[in-house]
């Protein structure tokens, strides 16, 4: 009886996950190697992949820094009022509750060319919406909770006594963080970073709204795949999608390895 259920579960997951992946792989080679290669190396594809890469790098760097800082403040700062902490905590969870498209729209409404901030920055040559900064902000919004939520429980678990001990021994904030706190949260941060990268690669809705999806200028890989499908250019779509899927799988494997290191350290 149990075997039947195991078999059934495996079949369902195979259908949901493996089959589409296989279909993408096959589809990418519909026109043979040249079809696959052309799909990847056309200028808009190269640009889109490059855009995705840039956005992911910037977003990951910013989130790693501010995510860890936010986690430290929310857990360790006794001087922050309780209400303020609760508010910040809810804000951190906001991206999970809000649809990415709404998030993107929010950014357009706040920072678009017709707004106060937008019209301040425009003459300075800094375009936010429909340009790279906007895409970064949109992806930041969507991925912000990931690192914070990974680091906070670990900080709570290890407690502040080790850090207090370091203080009594003469270590100030940076030394204490680097030598005492960081070694304990290191693998959680890495795991959070991997989650952020995966999420940023796959981000679609928020970036679509904010960037305007201008081909060759502000289009990311996911948006390009969407565009290709709309234009019935399926081979090219499959090619780009395959690259994205392959990176995700690699990331997944790395994620599992990081998780096992994290658990071993605990």
């Amino acid at each position: 009886m149990r075997r039947l259920w195991i078999g059934l579960t495996t079949l369902v997951f195979a259908l949901l996950l493996v089959t589409p992946l296989a279909r993408i792989a096959i589809g990418a080679w519909d026109d043979g190697w040249s079809g696959f290669w052309d799909g990847l190396t056309r200028p808009e594809a190269r640009h889109a992949l490059w855009m995705t890469f840039l956005v992911v790098v910037v977003v990951t760097a910013v989130n790693a820094l501010f995510g860890v800082m936010m986690a430290m403040y929310l857990v360790r700062a006794g001087w922050l009022g309780k209400r303020l902490k609760q508010l910040l905590n809810s804000i951190v969870d906001l991206p999970f509750a809000v649809s990415p498209v709404i998030g993107g729209l929010m950014i357009v409404l706040l920072l678009g060319p017709d707004t106060v901030i937008g019209s301040l920055l425009d003459p300075l040559g800094v375009k936010v919406v429909y340009a790279f900064p906007g895409m970064v902000i949109a992806t930041l919004f969507v991925t912000f909770p990931l690192i914070v939520r990974e680091v906070m429980p670990v900080l709570q678990e290890i407690g502040s006594q080790q850090e207090e001990a370091a203080a009594t021994l003469g270590a100030y904030a940076w030394t204490t963080f680097w030598r005492v706190t960081w070694p304990s949260i290191r693998w959680s941060v890495i795991y959070g970073v991997v989650l952020t990268v995966a999420r940023a690669i796959g981000e679609f809705g928020a970036v679509l709204v904010v960037s305007g999806n201008i081909m060759g200028k502000t289009q990311t890989a996911t948006n390009l795949v969407y565009q290709d499908v709309e234009n019935f250019n399926l081979t090219a779509a499959n090619a780009v999608a395959l690259v994205l899927a392959a990176s995700s799988i690699l990331l997944l494997l790395f994620m599992e390895w990081a998780k096992s290191r994290k658990e071993r350290q605990a």
Partner: protein
């Protein structure tokens, strides 16, 4: 280093943890802060360390006000109840941490670490990690780490609470010896009376944020200054109306005077055991409890129940037996006053002079 605290106050939210606490500690003394949980002892310790800021009051080290100094600059060593060792550093790394932070030269650092490993009996364990050590060993690493940068004040927060009883005894003796040897001013917090009495030069009883009494263990035991101290230290029996007891009942006592009687104040035995039989009265044994090294005896005199200890060497009584009871003294208190009163009949009323 001489430590002085004046009018310290600390409130956590609506809870007043420390109320108007003042005391002075001389160089080289080992002081125990003793009291029930939630009394404020750890708060006082943490404020001395700089880990908490007092709401008002002054803390002076060697005459200089240190309220505004962070823990990094106070020259203290702190030993936590749960060791708080750096989990991902070796024993060596833990001990050397304070020295590395202060940028000691490498040679001097090595020497100091070796010295401390020797002092704490951890030679051979340098390369081990905390999770590879026993509780007692971890605590010793915590000591070594706190002592490494040559602090002028050592603070210990219930250092032996998380250790088994047998090792606790050894570590207590070891701590006393070590602190004597180093001559460093030390303050430790405990809720274990035996520990405080054995280890400390002086004890401060802290209850509900206030210092009830400060004195040597002998003083605290023999001359408790408040009813709380009298009751907290040792095992006392509360007696509502002490006038009932022989030797304490006469017109001199105000009504409403209550008493605390310690087991060691009570003596029981046969008629032949007492040279001054007139000071004793009849009592009935109610209960006996074996305590390993002695008997715990509950004896009833009229409506008053008293508790005392009896050596295993002496004759064993049975419940229901009648014995003679002598109450040597009692700690008396009413709303305005508290004092120790000796049994009046202990002085032979008819000394014979020839």
């Amino acid at each position: 280093m001489n430590v002085e605290v004046r009018n310290l106050h600390k409130t956590f939210g609506t809870f007043q943890a420390v109320r108007d606490v003042s005391f002075t500690i001389e160089q080289g003394q080992l002081i125990g802060l003793l009291g029930p949980s939630g009394g404020g002892k750890t708060s006082i310790l943490r404020m001395l360390a700089g880990l908490e800021t007092p709401d008002s009051g002054d803390i002076l080290f060697q005459g200089a006000r240190v309220n505004d100094l962070p823990p990094q600059e106070r020259g203290i060593g702190f030993v936590f109840q749960n060791y708080a060792l750096f989990k991902h550093m070796t024993v060596e790394g833990n001990i050397a941490f304070g020295l590395e932070v202060k940028k000691w030269p490498k040679a001097r650092m090595k020497e100091r670490v070796a010295e401390l490993l020797e002092l704490t009996g951890l030679k051979g364990f340098e390369k081990r990690y905390p999770h590879q050590l026993s509780g007692g060993q971890r605590q010793r690493v915590a000591f070594a780490r706190a002592l490494a940068p040559e602090p002028r004040l050592l603070l210990l927060d219930e250092p032996f609470a998380a250790i088994d009883a047998k090792i606790r005894q050894e570590l207590r003796n070891w701590l006393r010896e070590m602190i004597d040897r180093l001559g460093i001013t030390s303050i430790f917090v405990t809720h274990d009376q035996d520990e405080a009495i054995e280890v400390a030069d002086e004890i401060m009883i802290i209850n509900q944020g206030r210092v009830e009494q400060k004195g040597t263990p002998w003083d605290i035991y023999r001359n408790p200054e408040t009813p709380f101290v009298a009751e907290f230290i040792g095992e006392s029996t509360f007696v509502e109306d002490v006038g009932q007891l022989r030797g304490f009942g006469d017109g001199g006592l105000r009504s409403g005077t209550k008493a605390l009687i310690r087991p060691e104040y009570v003596e029981i035995g046969r008629e032949s055991d007492f040279p001054l039989l007139s000071a004793t009265e009849k009592g009935t044994i109610r209960r006996l409890q074996f305590r390993g090294s002695e008997w715990l005896v509950e004896v009833e005199i009229g409506s008053v129940k008293l508790v005392t200890y009896r050596s295993l060497e002496k004759e064993v009584f049975q419940p229901g037996e009648e014995v003679r009871v002598l109450v040597h003294r009692a700690y008396l208190f009413n709303d305005s006053d508290c004092w120790i009163m000796e049994n009046r009949l202990k002085e032979d009323p008819m000394p014979v002079f020839i």
